[in-house]
């Protein structure tokens, strides 16, 4: 039996998808094309003089050791954010799934942080970890750790990773929990009867069945780490100290919005766009093969 809807009219299907396509063109393709165009230009802040400079903006970027350094920072940052975000939320979801009493309360509390705006999350962690007045700083000092992320790059990185991950855990948690609940209990019970322990049940049954969810979250989290975390960074370290938390998207924002360097900023966003497209392609081509739907 044919399940697809067949349109008899020639124009109706187009009319129905038109709004969606219009939105995509106006808000995604147009800016992307414009960024591409600006990336070949050198412009003063007020746009009075525009010169076509070919690939000069790109050449300048790749000759800048600090820009290349920012790639490494971004790679480390996104692996840490996506990795720890997925791992922690999977653990939390697996635990919350087993809870019977007060399950709703646990779930609600775990989902809450998602409602917090990135900048607010940043400020929150900023206060907790502030070098002189933070509560956590105080505790760390008490156990002999000199906490000073204003100058120590590794600590600054730890701070932004914690803030960015914390923000994303709820989102991941939600998906993992839904994934866990859709796994038929009979499968797990059968395995239990066959004598498989909780760990073995998890890795041989639950985890493979969760793999579509995990894959989806991997893509989403990587994109999150690349693009959406700049609010967290802007509110806390602003890329410092000495560029230790200068991720690519933050530099795009800083150079374009704060320093009014449109050409350089556009060139960076074109590169960033390329990276994320490539990463997503890789994820879909290679990682997805291991996913069992």
């Amino acid at each position: 039996m044919e399940k697809r809807v067949v349109f008899r009219s020639a124009w109706l299907p187009y009319a129905l998808v038109a709004p969606q396509i219009a939105v995509t063109i106006v808000f995604f393709f147009w800016p992307a094309v414009q960024a591409g165009w600006y990336s070949f230009q050198l412009q003063d802040a007020f746009g009075e003089r525009t010169q076509f400079v070919g690939l000069a903006n790109f050449a300048a970027l790749f000759n800048d050791p600090n820009y290349l350094h920012s790639f490494k920072v971004t790679a480390l940052f996104s692996v840490l954010v996506a990795g720890s975000g997925i791992a922690i939320s999977l653990l939390l979801a697996a635990m919350a799934d087993r809870v019977i009493r007060g399950a709703l309360a646990y779930r609600t509390l775990l989902i809450w942080p998602y409602a917090v705006a990135p900048a607010v999350a940043g400020v929150l962690w900023l206060f907790l970890f502030a070098p002189s007045i933070g509560i956590v700083t105080f505790a760390l000092r008490a156990v002999g750790i000199q906490w000073d992320w204003v100058l120590q790059g590794d600590q600054a990185m730890a701070l932004v990773v914690i803030a960015a991950t914390w923000k994303q855990i709820s989102y991941n948690f939600l998906f993992f929990l839904a994934g866990l609940q859709s796994i038929p209990k009979s499968l797990i019970e059968a395995a239990a009867i066959d004598g498989a322990g909780p760990g073995r049940r998890f890795w041989t049954i639950v985890f493979p069945l969760l793999s579509p969810t995990a894959f989806f979250l991997l893509v989403v989290n990587v994109v999150y780490a690349f693009f959406e975390t700049f609010g967290v960074i802007d509110a806390t370290t602003q890329g410092g100290p000495a560029g230790a938390t200068q991720i690519l998207v933050y530099k795009v924002y800083y150079d374009g919005v704060k320093a009014a360097d449109l050409g350089g900023s556009s060139a960076q966003s074109v590169i960033l766009m390329g990276i994320v497209i490539a990463l997503t392609v890789v994820q879909f081509r290679y990682v997805e093969r291991k996913v069992q739907y």
């Binding site: 050198l42 412009q43 003063d44 802040a45 007020f46 746009g47 009075e48 003089r49 010169q51 300048a60 800048d64 600090n66 070098p131 002189s132 007045i133 000073d148 204003v150 100058l151 120590q152 790059g153 602003q238 410092g240 100290p241 000495a242 560029g243 800083y254 150079d255 919005v257 704060k258 320093a259 009014a260 360097d261 050409g263 350089g264």
Partner: protein
């Protein structure tokens, strides 16, 4: 009853609207918060009450970079504000945008408003004038960096609280004693590049860059890797290692640490006095920033920070007369004194300074006068007039990044300052190319 009230309100509103229509509205975008914001609104209210033709409308547009970005976007869209407050590091960018701005000297001349640059403090006007001495923007809120001392902490460490260290040598000796007295944080600073590179250079009469610190052309190059600069940054790095200097960040984060009593010495903006006097539970003083006594001619004079008002182009010709009138109003000694005493920014005219002196304000608030004295310590040289570097928003950040790597012990001072010059010059060349 209710109806008549409503009708009356409506009528009043309409009357106001029609009156406002007859007036020329002048948009003023600014970035002043807290007490300074109140001051801005007060200035507008007083000006609007003083005449009927023009109405100044102050609009808060966020932080300095935010309001500048907003104005750039508005200009590109063809509808900029009349007056825009721009922080000092944006000066070169504004100046280069010849089609986007109208020099203040021209605005005043066209409107035939009385305007004599000689009435203003030279360190203030020099910063915002072109090489021929024409004032480009109106110096609105100018501050400088001063040295704060916690007198009680000095006493606790066996030092004389009334005698703040004058030289970096004395400073280090005092720092050692404070450290020995149990202070984990001895010295911290706000605005590290502004204090330790920009003001450091003018205070020791050495150039920050060629071409009179960029005032004489965009083909300038940084000179902050001179032996004196390297020596000073190395000294700070050394102090950081010994626990005598605690870095707090690139903005004014250090101010809270001084005000809370955590760090007994601090260099930061004169603008911190308000916060400190509100929160500090100890006796404190404001002093000249320290200098290296083996440098000939030091101390010279410090330079300003803060912001100036730029007049934007593409507005109806008649509006500019109102802008000129407003600037004349702002320059009057009474208004200057009001602004100076309520915000801590320095007065920009000599008359306003004299008037404040006469009023006896400085006897109760010596810190306010000290800033003026430090700025006018000597007649400014080409090294101490100010600075004008293209895209200095990025440039200053590069300098701060390199300084941070020294304070964290990751680079030695010489490498860091060489890198800062190299990276900074790349930014300057790009700006030069974009503004040819």
């Amino acid at each position: 009853m209710k109806f008549t009230k409503l009708a009356a309100t409506l009528a009043a509103a309409m009357l106001c609207a029609s009156q406002a229509h007859a007036q020329i509205e002048i948009q003023w975008w600014h970035s002043m918060t807290g007490a300074n914001n109140t001051g801005v609104n007060e200035l507008a209210t007083r000006f609007n009450a003083s005449q009927k033709e023009y109405k100044i409308v102050p609009v808060f547009k966020g932080s300095y970079p935010e309001s500048m970005t907003a104005a750039i976007a508005a200009f590109r869209a063809g509808n900029p504000p009349h007056i825009l407050q721009v922080f000092e590091v944006g000066t070169a960018t504004m100046m280069a945008a010849k089609g986007a701005i109208v020099p203040v000297a021209k605005v005043m001349a066209d409107a035939k408003e009385k305007f004599d640059p000689k009435e203003y403090l030279p360190t203030v006007t020099g910063y915002y004038s072109d090489s021929k001495g024409n004032m480009l923007s109106y110096p609105f809120n100018s501050s400088t960096v001063v040295f704060y001392v916690n007198k009680d902490a000095f006493k606790k460490a066996g030092l004389d609280g009334e005698k703040a260290p004058k030289t970096w040598k004395e400073f280090n000796a005092a720092a050692e004693k404070l450290k020995a007295a149990g202070f984990d944080c001895v010295y911290t600073t706000g605005w590290p590049a502004w204090m330790h590179i920009e003001n450091f250079s003018s205070w020791h009469n050495v150039p920050i860059g060629t071409k009179q610190n960029g005032m004489n052309g965009f083909d300038t190059e940084f000179r902050i890797n001179s032996p004196l600069h390297v020596r000073h940054v190395a000294m700070l790095g050394d102090m950081a290692k010994k626990g005598l200097f605690t870095y707090s960040g690139r903005r004014n984060e250090g101010e809270a640490r001084f005000a809370s009593g955590e760090c007994p010495m601090m260099t930061s903006s004169t603008g911190a006095q308000g916060t400190v006097s509100r929160t500090a539970k100890f006796a404190w003083s404001v002093n000249f920033i320290p200098y290296h006594d083996d440098v000939k001619g030091a101390p010279q004079n410090s330079i300003i920070g803060g912001a100036s008002l730029w007049v934007m182009a593409k507005k109806p010709a008649a509006d500019y007369k109102g802008v000129a009138k407003f600037f004349s109003f702002l320059s009057s000694p009474e208004i200057q004194m009001f602004w100076h005493t309520s915000t801590g920014y320095v007065p920009i005219t000599k008359a306003a300074y004299e008037l404040t002196k006469k009023s006896g304000f400085y006897e109760k608030n010596p810190g306010y006068e000290l800033a003026v004295r430090q700025l006018t310590n000597k007649a400014p040289t080409e090294n101490s007039k100010g600075l004008r570097f293209g895209n200095y928003v990025q440039g200053r950040e590069v300098i701060e990044e390199e300084m941070e790597s020294v304070f964290a012990g990751k680079k030695d001072a010489k490498t860091a300052m060489n890198d800062a010059v190299k990276r900074g010059n790349d930014i300057l060349r790009k700006f030069e190319a974009a503004n040819k």
